[in-house]
């Protein structure tokens, strides 16, 4: 079953491709960046900003807007790319990546850019902040939902588990987490560095309603987000299996591309690959 019509899927594919191209644009401007995790969550971010979130770029402080908290703040190039594509700010700002006082720093800052909801970057903060937002919105009887994107390596931060317990204890069923489960973290496979499997069972034991999906399948991303909460009275979590650095063939699933400083000709190859994918998309 696919929750999306073919043209909706095509729109999201195009949006995700633009996000990936913008990520390269920022890496070009700044000379380096956390490209692996940004690329792996690009489809999840496209699905949120072009289908799931109830937001209005003209009113970034609208009280009843949905919030997306990028807990793994180092993936921020994907966030910047999504926000600019939704018109939160001019795309020229992306070209300041890495520059002094840039509004698009290596981790997001809410005071610098409309649409950024929290100052993340130190891993393990986003879920508590999002939980507080979900709680605050519920207390106000707002229909808004709070979405969180986390890394799988990030889950080793103990603060997440405090936040998780509190979200289920307080029945925050307006909270939906996507774990960008790319199987890698900074220095190696998540299973070798600090193994948190079985992940689904851990979250379930913390009182969350858990689903596992292919994190590059738009039908599954959007379809599950629309069905949240998966169980009334429980926070929901989607463990999205992804490929780190997805979209750049030579970098995919390689830990070396967590933080990428392109070697000679690497950037040209990556740009050409995405360009080819864009042409392919136009033909389809």
């Amino acid at each position: 079953m696919n929750a999306l019509r073919p043209e909706e899927t095509a729109t999201l594919e195009a949006a995700a491709l633009r996000i990936r191209q913008d990520i390269l644009r920022m890496v070009r401007a700044g000379g380096a960046g956390h490209v692996g995790g940004a690329m792996s969550c690009a489809d999840i971010m496209a699905a949120h900003y072009f289908s799931i979130l109830r937001i209005d770029p003209a009113k970034p402080n609208w009280p009843d807007r949905d919030r997306l908290i990028l807990s793994a703040g180092h993936k921020c190039m994907a966030l910047y790319a999504a926000l600019r594509q939704r018109g939160y700010f001019d795309e020229s700002i992306l070209d300041t990546y890495g520059a002094l006082k840039s509004r698009v720093p290596g981790h997001p800052v809410m005071q610098k850019l409309p649409g950024v909801e929290a100052n993340t970057g130190a891993l393990g903060h986003g879920l508590s902040i999002a939980g507080g937002m979900a709680m605050g919105l519920k207390l106000k009887k707002s229909p808004a939902k709070v979405y969180v994107v986390m890394g799988d390596g990030e889950l080793a931060e103990g603060s997440n588990w405090e936040a998780a317990a509190a979200a289920s204890h307080h029945k925050l069923d307006n909270l939906l987490v996507f774990v960008d489960c790319n199987g890698l973290q900074l220095s190696g496979p998540t299973a070798d560095i600090m193994n948190y499997s079985p992940l689904a069972a851990k979250w379930a034991a913390f009182g969350w309603s858990v689903r596992t999906i292919d994190g590059h399948d738009f039908g599954q991303i959007v379809g599950n987000a629309r069905e949240a909460p998966f169980e009334a009275g429980k926070p929901s979590i989607v463990i999205a299996n992804t490929v780190k650095a997805k979209g750049i063939s030579f970098a995919e699933a390689k830990v070396d591309y967590h933080y990428w400083k392109p070697k000679a000709d690497e950037m040209a190859r990556a740009v050409a690959e995405l360009e080819a994918a864009a042409v392919e998309g136009l033909k389809a």
Partner: protein, 318 residues
Amino acid sequence: MREFKDPRVGFGNALLAAAQKDDRILALSADSSGSSGMTPFRKQFPDRHIEFGIMEQGIVGYASGLATTGWIPFFSAIAPFVTARPFEMFRNDLGYMNQNVKVVGRNAGLTYSDLGATHQSLDDVAILRTIPGVTIVCPGDPVEIERAVQAAVVHQGPMYIRIGAPSIPVLHPADVEFKLGKGIVMMEGSDVTIIATGTALWRAYDAAEILRSKGIKARLISMHTIKPIDRELICAAALETPAIVTVEEHYLVGGLGSAVADILGCMPGPHAPLKMIGVDDQYASNGPYDELLGLYGLLAEQIVSTVEGFIGRKMPRS
């Protein structure tokens, strides 16, 4: 006879009174609502009292998120556990995100005297002073506690309020002028200025009275706000009186004395020298509160002799 009051009860009552007028106020608890004075709040506003259990790091993050949606969370618990434990959450989620959250550290200083260094809080002001935009208030008597809570509701931005636990005497008239960032001159004097804060204020007050009875005209300032500190009042004292003594139940590193030293150190021209009374570089001991204060020179009679010694030894000013 002066009236002694429990600071936690005073905080709780002030919070309740504020919440009756302002429905944005929430009380957040880490399994210690009652001992933080928030039982009356919980009884009257059960829906606005949120229990989290013992997860102080997470609570600071939740408080930040709650504040983004327009609530004014007051999070009160044992001082080290709302400052040193969740320091990075305080810095990023409250400071860097500039959220309107009020953190209240109770049993601060040496007041958990018998429980030892894990529960005493002698570094809270020092570490929080490093966070840009955080207001730090150490109210020194029951009136200041009430005023600090009222000011916290009006002030936009993250704030830390530091209170003790043993009862403290009422020192101010009910209508005293209280402004964040402005010290209160409680006694005028020209021989020495004593600047005290928070839990140490009333013993400094007693010391100033004893000095006056001995003919030493001590100026006494209650410096309830450590950040932003009242630079003007400190500079005036440094020019108008020949010596300054600070008194605090905190480490000498990074507390009131250090904040005053920062200002005096950059002051051009001749000005009064500084003597700091507080706890030096060590884990404080344990035992009965008054006896513990005595180990660090924080009893009124000890403050008197430190002041006398300092003025006596001081070089005469030209």
